[in-house]
């Protein structure tokens, strides 16, 4: 690699959890500001607002103020997405509100993130909210966690305060099974340990926040995963002017798990037929292989009837075809779940009718206590059994995020009402 060539470290999606009180907006504002993602005109606009509100310094939290309703209430309601780049890596921040009533938003933001920053106010330590965020992070399967002990400026940058919080959190993390957890003291307000180290945290010799983000693995998991290719669309250009294309049958989709090479043996679900990959194409080019998250077109050796909703998988690791699913479900809708009703269940590119067979228990996400229930309200999380009209090709969520997840859709309103993760 030449010296001029800047290495592309890919793209990292991360989630920030905490409330306005923890300085979450200030942290995001600081990341955007210190990486020069904020431009002069935006800065001028927030300087004006800050001084109008009687503040002497620029309030970086204003950068993430979005909707009118949120400004009126001074809180964040919905997930917002922000972008910055360091030159070697692009970042997408999912900014999730911290309030209890917005569990569904945190689950939404977490579903696409590979790293979570959990903010703790150094004056307050580990709170119920911290536990809730950590548990949801674990539940949605975010592999990397950074615990940011913020507002160190308000505890005189005291190391003993920091150490106490770290010890308390470590014990809790072990209890819920969070494995990759890092800790960092910071002052988002003053910019200490975000991009620059500052001069007041000399006793901390670990990496800055941006160093942690730059070094984090971009892949969701370092484990080898089974090949999964849900078919989105079938390309059959019979009517083309080019006679060579008359027999063309391309299966279009994205590699949702694992990878695939030309010549690999694959099985097509639901019919169970086995064949080999003849070609992997993208825009007229043939590729020797396709990796996780790559959108391609597959051509197969044998003529097999395949349509949208089918799945092409590795013949060595075929997922279960099942009409019964056990899952952890987060309820997203203001209309409660009704066991009497039928919902659409969308799993990869497949849509099937589903009914609740039984609710095992609801989880109190603050205490992890299990409670009996017959329905679910918005923000509830429960373990339940579903029965399906047609089979899905299910993986355990912890083995494969994309083929272990589903959403539930209300048949009459078409709203997305539930988010599910397949277990067991």
């Amino acid at each position: 690699m030449s010296a001029q060539h800047v290495e592309d470290r890919g793209l990292l999606r991360f989630l920030t959890c905490g409330s306005v009180d923890d300085g979450k907006s200030t942290l995001i504002g600081r990341l955007l500001f210190d990486t020069k993602a904020i431009l002069a005109d935006t800065l001028t606009a927030i300087e004006r607002t800050s001084s109008k509100r009687g503040m002497t310094a620029v309030d970086l939290s204003l950068l993430t103020d979005g909707l009118q309703a949120e400004r009126e209430q001074g809180i964040t309601i919905d997930v917002a997405y922000r972008y910055f780049s360091t030159g070697t890596r692009k970042y997408i921040i999912a900014d999730a509100p911290g309030h209890e009533q917005y569990t569904r938003n945190m689950v939404t933001a977490a579903s696409t993130a590979n790293l979570a920053i959990i903010l703790i106010d150094a004056r307050k330590g580990v709170l119920t909210q911290t536990r809730r965020h950590s548990y949801l992070t674990k539940l949605v399967g975010i592999p990397h966690v950074v615990v940011a002990v913020n507002k160190m400026d308000l505890v005189d940058y005291d190391q003993a305060t920091y150490d106490k919080i770290v010890a308390e959190y470590k014990a809790f993390a072990e209890q819920i099974g969070l494995t990759d957890v890092r800790f960092i003291p910071l002052s988002a307000l003053n910019g200490d340990m975000i991009v620059d180290r500052g001069e007041r945290l000399d006793w901390y010799d670990g990496p800055t926040m941006i160093d942690i983000l730059e070094a984090a693995p971009a892949a969701h998991t370092e484990q080898a995963e089974s090949f999964r290719f849900p078919v989105q669309y079938v390309c059959r250009p019979q009517a083309s002017d080019n006679p060579e294309l008359h027999d063309y049958r391309g299966f279009m989709g994205r590699v949702e798990s694992g990878e695939i090479k030309v010549g690999d043996s694959v099985t097509v679900l639901p019919n169970g037929l086995t064949t080999k990959v003849k070609d992997i194409q993208l825009y007229g080019e043939s590729l020797p292989k396709a990796i996780h998250e790559q959108s391609v077109t597959l051509l197969l050796e044998d003529e097999i009837d395949i349509s949208r909703g089918d799945m092409i998988v590795s013949s060595a690791e075929v997922p279960a075809q099942t009409k019964q699913v056990e899952a952890i479900v987060c309820w997203l809708s203001e209309t409660p779940l009704s066991p009497a009703r039928t919902y659409w269940l969308r799993h990869t590119t497949r849509e099937v009718k589903a009914k609740v067979a039984s609710i095992t228990h609801r989880l109190d996400i603050n205490t992890l206590d299990k409670e009996a229930t017959t329905t679910l309200a918005m923000n509830d999380i429960a373990r339940l059994h579903l029965k399906l009209a047609q089979p899905v090709f299910a993986d355990n969520y912890t083995d494969s995020r994309a083929t272990g997840a589903f959403i539930l859709i209300d048949e009459s309103t078409n709203n997305t009402v539930g988010a599910g993760m397949i277990v067991g």
Binding site: G10, L11, L39, V79, S111, T221, Q232, P237
Partner: protein
């Protein structure tokens, strides 16, 4: 780098792959989608993404442009040329036809037609029965867009209700709609202006000439650079200078292209994509700020220019 680290896509490949996935989901879930194509840089990227998503087949949707009648002729010519090269169907519906029908009424002759495009768009959606419109909007464009869904639901009146949007988890998109309702799909939601330029550079995409530095007559109006005497397709001139305004010839380029009445260029000598990528990396003004300069932002940019040696 450790050899154990799993191979991942570069950031542009990842963004491209996500956009292709979203386009295929629209094609797979919706019965009658349309791709909005204006001839602008974002929609030019969208066409390349559609090629990558659906070739060697034809696009499973037509292209459509809502023409205000006040578009730069270079862009309109490019629009027609590109659609013809691709061999795809281009539908053009015009705000001027809505004006003739009386569904668009301008407050005065010179009012910007930009916001009236939505009336014409809704009329076209009804005319063709489209259940999804694929557009090139990005979340980095504006604060309110930061919360926009990739599949955004619009009611029968085409309205966006931020409080009534569907939660969007993993890459499971819900594009279901009832008759009359509509989905707006945004495959490049997660792209920034920089990503767009880097993609144009990588894919060697052709652009209308006005994206590159060129000299044109302008006036300075409330701190903004306003192009004047702009020729329309029919040869007529629009954006005439006001009495007393001094016309100067300035080297400029457009960062964004839309209705002539509300699109302002920036001063620039970037005459190729490589130079524009560099300029984008070092600019101090947002894309929207550059095209809609109000007094305060121009103070900041003027201050910056002075710091850099402007007299």
């Amino acid at each position: 780098m450790s050899t154990l680290t799993k191979q991942t896509l570069s950031h542009l490949d990842w963004l491209e792959s996500e956009a292709i996935h979203i386009m295929r989901e629209v094609a797979g879930q919706c019965s009658n989608p349309v791709l909005l194509f204006s001839g602008g840089k974002d929609s030019i990227c969208m066409l390349r993404l559609a090629e990558k998503a659906f070739r060697p087949g034809k696009f499973p949707f037509p292209l459509m442009h809502i023409d205000t009648g006040h578009n730069y002729k270079e862009v309109v010519a490019f629009r027609d040329k590109r659609a013809a090269e691709l061999g795809e169907r281009l539908i053009v519906r015009s705000v001027e036809d809505s004006m003739k029908r009386g569904t668009v009424v301008l407050k005065h002759e010179n009012e910007s037609r930009n916001k009236h495009q939505s009336v014409t768009l809704l009329e076209a959606i009804e005319e063709f029965g489209f259940d999804a419109c694929i557009g090139g909007a990005r979340r980095d464009e504006e604060k309110a867009r930061a919360k926009e869904r990739i599949m955004s639901f619009r009611d029968e009146f085409g309205q966006w209700d931020p409080k009534n949007q569907r939660p969007e988890l993993w890459n499971l998109y819900n594009a279901r709609s009832h008759k009359g309702e509509n989905i707006r799909a945004f495959p490049i939601s997660n792209w920034t202006e920089m990503d767009v330029w880097q993609y144009i550079e990588r894919e060697k995409l052709e652009l209308p000439s006005i994206y590159f530095a060129h000299t044109r007559p302008v006036v300075m109006r409330s701190g903004a650079i306003v192009p004047v005497n702009v020729p329309l397709m029919n040869g007529e001139l629009t954006n005439l200078p006001k009495a007393g305004e001094e016309i100067i010839d300035l080297q400029v380029r457009f960062r964004t292209v839309g209705d002539i009445s509300c699109t302002a260029p920036v001063e620039s000598d970037a005459d190729n994509v490589e130079k524009i990528v560099l300029e984008t990396a070092t600019t101090t003004i947002t894309e929207r700020g550059a095209t809609r300069l109000d007094d305060q932002t121009s103070e900041a940019s003027m201050e910056q220019r002075k710091k850099e040696g402007y007299f």
